[in-house]
Symmetry: D4
Subunit: 165 residues, 8 copies
């Protein structure tokens, strides 16, 4: 199946976090592909990976990086597809460096930034689903089901906590 | 024309910043509506404004707030539409409080966060256009034209700066 | 016994911290109930839990959450009861995200914020006792006794440290 | 009328901010008194002001200070009344120093911390009203009315913003 | 021997860090005593410990605390002896809360603040020695010897590192 | 009169802040001298200024600098006299850069750090007086008088604020 | 004369700051050229500007940008020439966003980062001179003269400040 | 072979990080020497180590330190050679103290700052190579080869990640 979402991470060491994105996309039956490209070490590759993705019909690109996390912004400079940025906690600064490097984009080139680390990796997938749902009503239904499931889980946890006391 | 984007701000004092969003959306010919709702002072209104928007066919919601900026997250709790959050610099903490309150959403409910203040207000509009372009190829063309225009402006500025020396 | 205090946490993973609150309340013989509700995943549940609590005579609500910790503010948007917020250290940002999301409430809807994590969980209980003591002189006495006990503990620790040298 | 709330500020330069507290308390018809005491320059005065307040029937104390804002914590060390802390933006650090000095109280002695500056000054008054409402049902009604008034104001602002476009 | 330096810590859990201070003072043959007092839990004790110390001829007081570390400032409010503050890393905020609570003293009551944690605990002792050396030329000599010893250690380390390559 | 305190500032632009130090020292009748030396631009001058000061009988050195404020630490590397560091707010980072550069000294070479800017400039003078008072009982009396004067000022301010209401 | 240094700024609004760089380079008689290129709005232009510069014999590139300041890192991804990054204070976050975006480069592609704003703009020029001096002994002499001149200026300022008292 | 690069670290405990610098320099066949000198504990040694290095033909000096990391700035005050600063994460503040102490140099004396910790240690070596390449075309070739090698590694990692899915 043709990928609708492309996940680009700055290093293969980001895989354990970004697999969360892939898992959630799989839950929504959204085909995705995943690769490594570095904004700094492989600028040409980054550009060509994006061009290829556009040709193959990818509709949303997710970029994940730590430290001076330029990858999502550099991706956004090569495409007008929506780009989601996941800041990773990959230095001593707890991901604050990655967060500011991704979210504080100057006017003209947005990056849709989500939370730092695993929470953001999951949310990137859901945000991608919300974007793709613009032309896929079935996805909207899946998103509503996902909400219900999450609500149910909260209620179950509530019951356990309430019993405990 | 039916609005495609709804801009909700936490206070009318946010209007000077959020008019930037409206202007850019107008440049892209994307019909939008704009209102005020407070996550804390009018929780019911916030919920009903979103319900109405969904019925009227709104496809992207932009929430802007300062301080403990819960509005975008609260909007996201009431809809599965993509929600874009604009952190505003409305306290002594330079918008860092709003940024963290918007971007650090727990797993399950994403908010697509953009930069603090006017830069983010503009980028929210472009991100909305990128999302709507998923089913509107004309918008993709407009986004590409906008990129070219921005590039041209940079080149003109470059010439001025180069002459100066 | 009817609960006077309701503890709401954003996730059952917050239980080990929030049990500190329950323990201290128990020390003061203040009946409390404890549940899970998410500002984002279960906005309706959050509202209904609060409505129920008000009907049952709860007088103080304690909300605890990490990351973009909207829960205490959202609770406060649904009640005029005093709401105490406990910021939890649940992301790479050491609880600074939760602290700012809870304490920086815009004018009109206060949240009584206490320290991050276990210290705050304990202090939330004592603050609740101080509030309930407004109409319960016995609680004032218990609070004074608790102060004396703490002072005594400090003096005992002082003796041990003084001997050491 | 006997004051129910005592406002203590660290310096008379804090008056323009803390008058906001007094105004909101006046709106709720809650009698208050206001004074200056310094945790560091007048430790005895701080203690005696609190003792006097307790004798006169004060039920909530609000402490406001900037920089290394010890005043609210020091007040709390002298009383078991609920103490509300308002961090002021009085140094180059934008009130972050005052916020951390007030909110991060060690276990045992809570300070109910509100937002930095004027927003916090207002919220301190509302929080005091919420605490006093524990034994004054009329105050609860006033708080509910205040909420309605705020909601109405938001709706009026919304109408203005909606017309604008 | 009569203590010249009094070390007050906010909790006995601070002992492992503050023993560094005691050790360095012992190296300089400066008699010291060590105790526990809490600015918040035992305000009277804190005041009386200081009064006693002054009577016994203590000349420098070192206060160490974490979180909203009011202890050094509260000590300084009770004496005109030089007070040295050691910020401890005792919360999720890495000691930044303690640092700002200690160093940002308002004009009139200084606290001589040293670095966070063990480095600061050692430096507090050396600073105390430098202060006491104002009237004890032998201490000046010991401080100069200590400098030489440190320089020698650096040179030895340098030789090892240089050999390594 | 021979100076007892030497004030070294990194730049003459720091004079308006550091004159506060000189004024307070003058109030205490402590003779001081004031000069400019840069840790980076004039390392030799910095060293020689300190050597001269030691010869002339200076007992406390106050160093003030902004940005990467190495001056106080560099002064401390050349003397075993007590060195007080005043962090100045001289960059966009609000003095946080200067604070951390001054206070976070590694073990072995302490700098007695006071608050950022004018408050710190005043407190540096008082701390110097407290240190010099170790061998000058008259200074202790002046410090006690100064405390009383400050307390009186607080009480006067309190009366004004109390009347206002 | 062929430029040895190329200054690239992200926007012409950065010119008032970056003219400081040009002025200092002129003082050292180092020919430079100056242009505008945006890492995000003109990624191709950025790459081609660098390629051209390399062909023309440029030896050092200085990149200046604010917010999520990717420009210096992106420049470094296109060349193995030394790249100096100047973080600009162009958002509400005081340049901290630009600083972290520039300095926290992942391993493999360094950016030589200098201080935020005008101080950094000047230092970028001096650092470029220090680099070019590697093969130009005359530049080393100019750098030494510049040091002497700065030292002299400090001494003159010192005399003025010393007289003042 | 005569060293071209001198690595100075503030303490031998920094060796495990700074060996990364030495390794990368060795990969580029750049002879280097490595020593320990403390800006504060051995100011004379620091100055003489630099003087010796200049005489022996060292062309780039790398200074690494944690906490109030004055070493790189102090090195820069003694030489007009390019000085690279590596901030180390050696306190509870995650290296933010070292970063600001190194990068925020006042105008006149630059330090070329790289990222915190190991990433910075590696980048310092590459930056040194880029500087030395100004007069050594073979080094430029090695730097280009290093880039290619890094790009290849990214591509290999990309293939592994791509296969995984």
């Amino acid at each position: 199946m043709k990928p609708k979402v492309l996940i680009i991470m700055g290093s293969d060491s980001d895989l354990p976090v970004m697999e969360e994105t892939a898992k959630v996309l799989a839950d929504f039956n959204i085909p995705c592909s995943m690769t490594v490209a570095s904004a700094h070490r492989t600028p040409q590759r980054t550009a060509s990976v994006i061009r290829d993705a556009e040709k193959k019909g990818v509709e949303v690109i997710i970029g994940a990086a730590g430290m001076a996390a330029h990858l999502p912004g550099v991706i956004a400079s090569h495409t007008v597809l929506p780009v989601i940025g996941v800041p990773l906690d990959a230095s001593s600064l707890n991901g604050m460096d990655a967060l500011l490097s991704i979210v504080q984009m100057p006017p003209g080139i947005p990056v849709a930034t989500v939370s730092i680390g695993k929470a953001g990796a999951k949310n990137a997938a859901i945000l991608a689903a919300q974007i793709l749902a613009r032309k896929d009503p079935q996805l909207t239904q899946k998103l509503l089901d996902h909400r219900k499931k999450m609500a149910k889980e909260v209620e179950e946890k509530a019951r356990k906590v309430e019993k405990k006391r």
